[in-house]
């Protein structure tokens, strides 16, 4: 039967809907036995075009699954969702054929009882009134079915006989004295259900049965809007909801009318049913049954084809986002309150420069864009100001307008918005649709990247498609200095200011802009080349305006509906930090790319990322969150390091934000650098060389404290001079002295440890000769001069701050003493190694440092006198002298509330915390992590069990270290819990913590927890000891590593517990497991082993 849709209504269906939800039986297929191949093909096409498909069925999953079997095979099935059991379950797919339960309504025992009682009561009442048999079907999820006509001829009526069925039921009820027919029975069912205690019974009917349930189709539709649509940023008007029973049937409300829910307002509803009782306003009645629905799906596919899959020759972006969801971080919609966090999370960088993930075309009120160049610092004019990263020019601003109406960055004009960080390719994608006041809709897709192949380059590309109009479109590409005002208010921050350069002023295509950093004298040149292409080729700019530091390029073009336009910009930054002639160099760089264009830049960038990932990517099976977090962490760390520049390091918040002023802490040496030592040694070397180049400042700091050797700055910028602010206005209003810059000495040992670890992992003798040995010797010398002899015959480090910064000016902090002891011994060992292997260099060093053998010998004498004391009874190391005398404080109530991290110095007050055994972050536990072999096993466990419950993790550095140590101790539940906590530091809303940039140390800690903790990688001698233990949710893990020039791949599975170590390149590599003799693996060789016990392995052939 044809429907009654008018032309206006039909026009509503000519829209590229992004989600299609429909009733399966009667709408998509005629009955349960029908071949669904045709509908399956159309649905598959839609899914391949990015349309989400939600199938609703009153029955269980099996039937639609069987009919849709071919659909659920490919990766497109990630777009498929099946809502089964009349709204009680939702299933999705992840590329495989097995449905994944996403949501289920679980009935309580009480509800189950109430359902049964209500159905029984209805049956009894109907039987009493009519004298006819009525049956109850109990075995349905969250519902009971009451069969009104349990007769053999009506056992399984096909959909086509619905009319006859209704007549038969109606007659049967009327004959039995129920004149109100089906509606009366439904009302009776509702009242009985409520009487039995069900507050919100869902009463439905298919004509034959009356169902009393806890859910109905409205639950499926609400789930769809609240989860699927919200996560993907799909507006209700982009949802098509199909059915065949919206209107009344036999006087009762049609089942599909339940799909009209509060959240579905605005969605387009269509019925292909006969609808003899008509349909409500707003529902488009097409009629025609499943055949018509099939046509509708086909038309929708065509619409999407036009929009998204233009012919191959059509313009596309130079890079397409990675398909695998495990490589993507997505954020649909706009959330002004959290915009600063997202700008950090979606930042792009390459170690030379970084750009926050702000919206290019935005005047977004909450936006805080920044382009940062590593190593370029300046200080505000205030006397107390310390150097901080200077903010560079905004290079990618865009202004768009359709027929003179400027595009808005937020509000109702933005129909959809999705930001995707493509971790695999190191690129930020955006996709959004804009509707102007007159209804002109423009589809936009953009990509931005900071080239990893050529670190001076930034690329911006934007695809523009007028969806429903032809007319004038204007685009203005702007470069300008960092704004003085953000959010309408002045922002005190050092920035690069415009400068005049005669040579630059004359340059055209590329245009060059010059900036300077007032305090440092650094000059920065930015060369830009922009292109706009339409279907007929390149379109010249209609106007170009230049001023000092400002470039505005404007295009006015007549666009046509459905055609594609692409804007590309290449920007090259050079500064006097690395170039004597930044202006010509930046120009030459851009000009040299003329042939390869943006596509070539994108290709080389993609290849560079692939290479880095091949050496870095840890894969995890069984834990998607962990997988994504590890990749997210590696992405930001790779983005932060520049292996080609040994004069810069990585700031605490990388180049993703201005927080921490770009200052370098022990975070880099202790938390970040190890990943590079094992995956990109050149990057680790550069980070250590930064420390080497800042040795003069470290020596000066030691001298300033009346000591010898090198004391590295707690906070360091470009020169290595101490940049820790000396005072802080505390949140409770108190002006506080910041003592870290004077007392947190352990950073010197941390630098030495990182150098030693790098040398151990790489065997880089040249580094040791040129820089490493000097670092080891000068830091050891510092500790020897800093330690004070006590009456007890021991040496003491008094007035220090350990990693637990809640307790300041303490004596003999366990971590500091332990690391100092190690540093003294390692310094002596370095001297011995140099003496034996590189005698000439050793002589040079001794002369340069005025070092004699006796001094080195004295370090070996001093070291044991500094060692942290282990209580023979308890096996505990006291965190510092007097710690055990402090009040204890029970943190368990906090943890019961699920608050695993808290700044307790604020919440309890500084005095209280200082008087208590509350630990801010891993301190003694940190010592365990780094010097595992030096502590007896009983001390490792005792210390962890003692300190872990007393640690409030007020620092983001803490959870990952606890995960790492817990894993080594075999406390896997604890390890997994802390791993998850560390993984979420930036990827969940941790109270705005990420607004100023991502937490690089936590990310490095996450890698260490995975590799040193779960994979159990432990350097021993010239090889690696492996003792893997995977968390319960991890089925398998693959870890690529580099060891002394060799590349190897470790693969481990949890059940069965198996391990494989294969040398892919170079070698030999010595591998050792408990129970398996040490083996030297040559290139191509593999060691396979099976777990025989907690820590026992046996070799396998």
């Amino acid at each position: 039967m044809a429907g009654h849709a008018g032309p206006q209504q039909l026009l509503k269906l000519a829209r590229p809907f992004r989600v299609v939800a429909f009733d399966w039986d009667g709408t998509a297929v005629g009955d349960r036995y029908e071949d669904a191949t045709a509908v399956g093909q159309r649905l598959e096409r839609l899914m391949s075009l990015g349309v989400a498909v939600v199938v609703l069925t009153g029955g269980d999953l099996e039937r639609p699954l069987r009919q849709l079997a071919p659909l659920v095979q490919g990766r497109h099935n990630q777009q498929l969702f099946i809502a089964a059991n009349r709204g009680s379950e939702i299933f999705g797919f992840d590329g495989g054929p097995v449905p994944i339960p996403l949501w289920r309504r679980v009935a309580t025992a009480e509800e189950e009882r109430q359902l049964t009682e209500a159905a029984d009561a209805l049956r009894d009442e109907l039987q009493r009134r009519t004298g006819l048999p009525v049956a109850v079907i109990y075995d349905r999820l969250n519902r009971r079915k009451v069969d009104l006509i349990p007769e053999p001829e009506w056992a399984d009526p096909p959909r086509s006989q619905t009319g006859e069925l209704l007549t038969a039921v109606q007659q049967r009820l009327t004959r039995g004295g129920i004149d109100g027919g089906l509606p009366q029975v439904l009302s009776l069912a509702r009242n009985l259900a409520r009487a039995k205690g069900l507050a919100d019974p869902r009463i439905t009917t298919d004509g034959k049965h009356v169902e009393i349930g806890l859910t109905d189709k409205s639950d499926s539709i609400e789930w769809m809007f609240e989860h699927l649509c919200r996560e993907r940023g799909i507006a209700p008007e982009d949802a098509l909801i199909g059915g065949d029973e919206f209107g009344p049937i036999g006087g009762a409300e049609g089942n599909d009318s339940r799909m009209l829910t509060p959240h579905s307002t605005g969605a387009v509803f269509v019925s292909v049913g006969a609808e003899p009782g008509g349909v409500a306003d707003g529902i488009i009645h097409l009629g025609g049954g499943p055949a018509r629905f099939l046509e509708l799906l086909g038309s929708l596919g065509d619409l999407h084809q036009v929009r998204l899959r233009a012919p191959a020759a059509a313009l596309e972006l130079p890079l397409a986002p990675v398909a695998d969801a495990h490589w993507r971080i997505c954020r649909p919609g706009l959330d002004p309150a959290r915009e600063h966090e997202f700008e950090s999370i979606f930042a792009i960088a390459n170690g030379y420069l970084g750009a926050r993930g702000s919206l290019d075309e935005s005047e977004l009120i909450a936006s805080s864009p920044a382009t940062l160049l590593a190593g370029i610092y300046d200080a505000l004019p205030e006397a107390s100001a310390v150097p901080e990263l200077a903010v560079g020019p905004e290079w990618s601003r865009l202004l768009l307008a359709s027929d003179g109406q400027p595009f808005a960055a937020e509000g109702p004009a933005v129909l959809e918005h999705l930001r995707t960080l493509d971790l695999a390719q190191g690129a930020l994608f955006r996709e959004w649709r804009h509707r102007d006041r007159d209804g002109r809709i423009t589809f936009l897709r953009a990509v931005r990247l900071a080239s990893l192949a050529d670190r001076h380059l930034l690329l911006q590309s934007l695809l523009i498609v007028p969806e429903n109009y032809s007319g004038t479109l204007s685009l203005e590409a702007i470069v300008e200095p960092a704004r003085l005002m953000v959010n309408g208010m002045p922002v005190p921050r050092p920035r690069m200011i415009p400068a005049y350069d005669a040579a630059a002023a004359e340059r055209r295509d590329p245009s060059v802009l010059v900036y300077r950093v007032p305090g440092s004298g650094t000059s920065v040149a930015l060369a830009c080349q922009s292109r706009l292409h339409g279907p007929q080729g390149e379109l010249p700019a209609t106007r170009v305006d230049r001023a000092e530091g400002v470039l505005r390029e404007r295009w006015e073009l007549e666009v046509r509906l459905g055609e594609r336009y692409r804007f590309d910009k290449l920007a090259a930054f050079y500064s006097t930090r690395e170039s004597r002639h930044p202006v010509p160099e930046s120009c030459t760089r851009v000009e040299s790319l003329r042939l390869q264009g943006t596509d070539g830049v994108a290709r080389r960038h993609g290849a560079a990322w692939r290479e880095r990932w091949a050496a870095t990517d840890i894969t995890v099976e069984g834990d998607e969150e962990a997988q994504r977090a590890l990749r997210f962490a590696a992405y930001h760390l790779i983005s932060a390091a520049n292996p080609e520049d040994e004069r810069v390091s990585i700031g605490a918040r990388t180049l993703s934000g201005r927080a921490y002023k770009g200052h370098v802490f022990w975070d880099t040496d202790t938390f970040i650098l190890p990943m590079f030592s094992y995956t990109c040694p050149q990057a680790a070397r550069s980070l250590l060389m930064y420390r080497f180049h800042t040795l003069p400042a470290a020596r000066e700091k030691a001298r300033g404290q009346g000591r010898q050797g090198a004391l590295f700055a707690w906070e360091s910028a470009d020169t290595g001079v101490e940049t820790t602010p000396r005072f802080m206005l505390a949140p409770d209003g108190e002006m506080l002295r910041i003592l870290c810059g004077e007392q947190e000495l352990h950073v010197s040992a941390d630098v030495a440890y990182a150098a030693w670890q790098y040398w151990g992992a790489t065997g880089d003798q040249r580094f040791m000769a040129e820089a490493g040995a000097e670092l080891m010797l000068e830091t050891a010398r510092f500790w020897a001069s800093r330690a004070e002899p006590g009456k007890d015959g021991r040496l003491h480090l008094r007035g220090v701050i350990g990693p637990d910064e809640y307790h300041e000016t303490v004596d003999d902090n366990g971590y500091t003493n332990g690391m100092a002891q190690w540093n003294l011994e390692a310094g002596a060992l370095a001297a011995k190694m140099m003496r034996e292997r590189m005698p000439a260099r050793w002589r040079e060093l001794k002369a340069k440092l005025s070092l004699d053998e006796a001094e080195v010998e004295s370090w070996l004498g001093a070291a044991p006198r500094l060692a942290p004391r282990i209580d023979p009874k308890t096996s505990l190391i006291e965190q510092y002298d007097g710690f055990f005398k402090l009040e204890d404080y029970d943190l368990s109530p906090l943890r019961k509330e699920g608050r695993r991290a808290a700044p307790l110095d604020l919440l309890l007050g500084r005095d209280k915390v200082q008087r208590s055994r509350i630990v801010k972050q891993a301190d003694v536990v940190m010592l365990e992590a780094l010097l595992w072999d030096r502590l007896p096993p009983e001390a490792r466990e005792a210390c962890f069990r003692y300190y872990e419950p007393r640690t409030c993790h007020g620092s983001s550095l803490s959870p990952a270290v606890h995960s790492w140590v817990a894993a080594k101790l075999g406390m896997m539940d604890v390890a997994e819990s802390y791993f998850r906590q560390a993984a979420r530091i930036d990827l969940s809303d941790e109270m705005g913590n990420a607004a100023g940039g991502v937490h690089a140390a936590a990310m490095g800690g996450l890698w260490q927890a995975a590799v040193f903790g779960f994979a159990g990688v432990h350097p021993r001698g010239d090889g690696l000891l492996l003792s893997p233990r995977l968390p319960s949710s991890w089925q398998a893990m693959r870890v690529p590593l580099q060891w002394r020039g060799a590349r190897l791949m470790l693969t481990m599975t949890r059940r069965p517990g198996e391990l494989s170590a294969r040398v892919l390149e170079g070698g030999p590599v010595a591998i050792e497991l408990e129970g398996v003799p040490r083996r030297q693996l040559e290139c191509g060789q593999e060691l396979r082993a099976r777990r025989e016990g907690e820590d026992r392995w046996s070799a396998r052939r």
Binding site: R331, P332, A366, M489, H663, E897, S956, L957, G996
Partner: protein, 304 residues
């Protein structure tokens, strides 16, 4: 407690364009007239006449009513008397509900409860059902000539609360009052932007957090820059901390966003302020459906 620092996260805005109608609710008692200085000052700052509302079973001649309340002389200037007949609460709500830009001013209690100072049922009913901001004045806390020089805005950091503080900010702007924002950190999990979980280095984290806090607040209630809003941070019991701060700083008005419920942390704070506030309190409802606020909070994170 001293100043944390001026974040200055504001932008110049044109405010006050919307019309405000100030309703002073009186029950015929002199106690209820104690709110007069506040209502009068607000009406004056807004440049509008003050509406004195009296609801009861039978009308009273306006002049007699005002005299009975002890209102005479200057107090009678620019006053409009709205006599409402019928059940008082329903009549008041209907009358006020029909007026855009309404602000209700009343005392916490009437004559009957003057001794205890506890809120009566009319107060509670108006507070929970009023479609507009309500300013409650505890008798004895304001003197004639009251003016608004310093406004305290306790803020939990959520977008909804920030949006709900808009009426208080607007009134403060009209009076050119100083704005003091107070966040009381608690151990419990909270919405919005409470103190961060991690404070790696406080010398960096606190200035960043303060700036972020004020910028987020500014997004939803548009803090006027010329009022130099300042952020203060405290810890402990929120109600007690707000009262302590208000007393120490000699605050003239507390603006409080309120969910409408008297349970939970917010509810406890409301009860405490009703009983002990040293100055008038402006209650404005947190509208979870507020478009601007929803933009910031309705979308759940999804890392798919």
């Amino acid at each position: 407690m001293e100043t944390v620092g001026e974040t200055g996260t504001t932008r110049a805005l044109e405010r006050g364009a919307g019309h405000t109608t100030v309703f002073l609710l009186l029950d015929g008692s002199r106690t209820s007239a104690a709110a007069m200085p506040v209502a009068h000052a607000l009406a004056q700052a807004s440049g509008v006449a003050l509406h004195v509302v009296h609801a009861g079973d039978r009308p009273e001649p306006p002049l007699e009513l005002l005299q009975k309340l002890g209102l005479s002389g200057r107090a009678l200037g620019h006053v409009v008397v709205d006599e409402l007949i019928g059940e008082p609460i329903a009549a008041i709500l209907e009358h006020v509900g029909a007026t855009p830009g309404a602000v209700i001013v009343q005392t916490v209690c009437g004559e009957k409860r003057a001794a205890t100072g506890r809120a009566g049922h009319v107060t509670r009913a108006v507070l929970s059902a009023a479609p507009c901001p309500v300013i409650l004045v505890r008798p004895g806390t304001v003197a004639s000539g009251w003016s608004m020089r310093r406004v305290l805005l306790p803020h939990d950091g959520s977008a909804q609360t920030a949006a709900a503080l808009t009426p208080a900010v607007e009134l403060a702007q009209r009076a050119q009052a100083e704005l003091l924002v107070l966040h009381v950190a608690t151990l419990a999990g909270e919405p919005g932007l409470p103190v961060p979980c991690y404070l790696d280095q406080p010398q960096h984290e606190w200035p960043e957090w303060s700036r972020e806090f004020m910028e987020r607040m500014d997004l939803f209630c548009l803090l006027p820059q010329q009022l130099r809003p300042r952020l203060f941070l405290s810890h402990g019991d929120p109600g007690a901390e707000i009262l302590r701060f208000a007393a120490e700083r000699r605050v003239d008005l507390i603006g409080l966003g309120w969910s409408g419920a008297l349970v939970g942390t917010h509810g406890e704070v409301v009860k405490e302020l009703l009983d002990r506030a040293p100055c008038p309190v402006l209650f404005s409802r947190i509208e979870h459906g507020l478009a601007s606020a929803a933009k910031g909070t309705q979308v759940l994170p999804s890392w798919r």
